[in-house]
């Protein structure tokens, strides 16, 4: 099986990297830029916030990001209603001149779990307005199928709560989602360390999106490299096809020619 060409395709756009990273929580812009660079990511998420009109001294995020190199994926993080999320997406499109949005409608502050009812409402409106919608959702195959049927360009089930670092809590649900939908499945949220990202990819996911796992690591740049390798290793292992799990041993040396 040729393992050379393996692009991630979202809404007709091709990407070499299957890792998507956020731009929040870094100590400074230099650290962020370096971490994104070594992560190999081509899609990076950004948030939409009010400009501080009284203090214009602060540097802007876009001063530090090479827009020729990266695809910006504005998110609606912090939105709790469909209405707010739709408003944020419209502003994001105007600010960034791209139709790609990561749609996130949260249910409560403690868990940051998605409010799927509002998510579906917002997705419907945004798709009708021509947005390319990548929704953050629960690891629920039924909701993922609804999002796909509606016209979402991908589905992004969580592995575990945002920022929790608990890893892929329900790999069986992720597996069912993978069998249920045809659009790319990108695990969004929950990754804590490299093995979590590798597990997501070994399951057959099309990509992984993370922020805290890298930005919150003691050495974010080193962790970004670890994630880059883990996503690639996991993907390669998935495509290579692992051996089946068995309860008992299978000898790997020939039995013929034993001395006794």
């Amino acid at each position: 099986m040729p393992l050379t060409s393996d692009k991630l395709v979202i809404a007709g756009r091709e990407f070499d990297s299957r890792l998507m990273v956020g731009t929040g929580k870094y100590a400074d812009f230099q650290q962020m830029v370096r971490a994104i660079e070594v992560s190999g990511a081509q899609i990076i998420t950004v948030a939409v916030r009010r400009v501080n009109i009284s203090d214009r001294s602060k540097e802007s995020l876009l001063d530090h990001i090479d827009l020729k190199k990266y695809t910006l994926l504005p998110n609606t993080a912090g939105c709790y209603t469909a209405e707010d999320a739709i408003r944020t997406c419209r502003l994001a499109r105007e600010a960034g001149l791209s139709d790609f949005v990561k749609l996130e409608v949260l249910g409560d502050e403690k868990t940051l779990f998605p409010n799927n009812e509002e998510l579906l409402k917002a997705a419907k409106v945004l798709i009708a307005e021509g947005f390319t919608v990548l929704p953050y959702t629960s690891d629920d195959p039924i909701i993922c199928k609804k999002l796909e049927d509606m016209g979402c360009a991908a589905v992004m089930p969580l592995g575990a709560p945002i920022g929790s670092g608990l890893g892929i809590r329900n790999p069986y649900n992720i597996q069912i989602i993978l069998e249920t939908v045809k659009v790319p499945v990108i695990v969004d949220a929950g990754v804590g360390t490299a093995s979590d990202a590798a597990i997501a990819m070994e399951l057959g996911c099309d990509g992984v999106l993370m922020n805290t796992a890298i930005a919150g690591a003691q050495d974010p740049v080193a962790m970004a490299e670890a994630m880059n390798l883990a996503v690639r290793a996991g993907r390669l292992a998935y495509r290579a096809g692992r051996i089946p799990r068995k309860l008992y041993a299978t000898a790997s040396s020939p039995l013929a020619g034993l001395i006794a």
């Binding site: 956020g22 939409v48 916030r49 009010r50 009109i53 876009l62 993080a77 600010a95 999106l209």
Partner: protein, 69 residues
């Protein structure tokens, strides 16, 4: 003349949206503007004059990801 910008009451001279952004030191290419809850396309910044009581939202991209920005 009084308007509201990003939730704050401000007093300004009569200006177009473009002139107002520049007066705030904002690069108009890097932001999005909502005027009285409707998106204002960039092409209309130069021709849109602010009026008494207008409510503006000026937003830009900041760091954020799978977390609250």
């Amino acid at each position: 003349m009084n308007i509201t910008t990003n939730g704050e009451a401000v007093s300004i001279d009569p200006l177009t949206v473009q002139q107002y952004l520049v007066s705030l030191g904002i690069d108009p290419r890097r932001v999005a503007v909502e005027l009285n809850l409707d998106i204002l396309p960039k092409a209309q910044y130069e021709t849109t004059r602010l009026k008494e009581g207008d409510a503006l939202e000026i937003v830009h991209f900041v760091g954020g990801g799978a977390v609250r920005g």
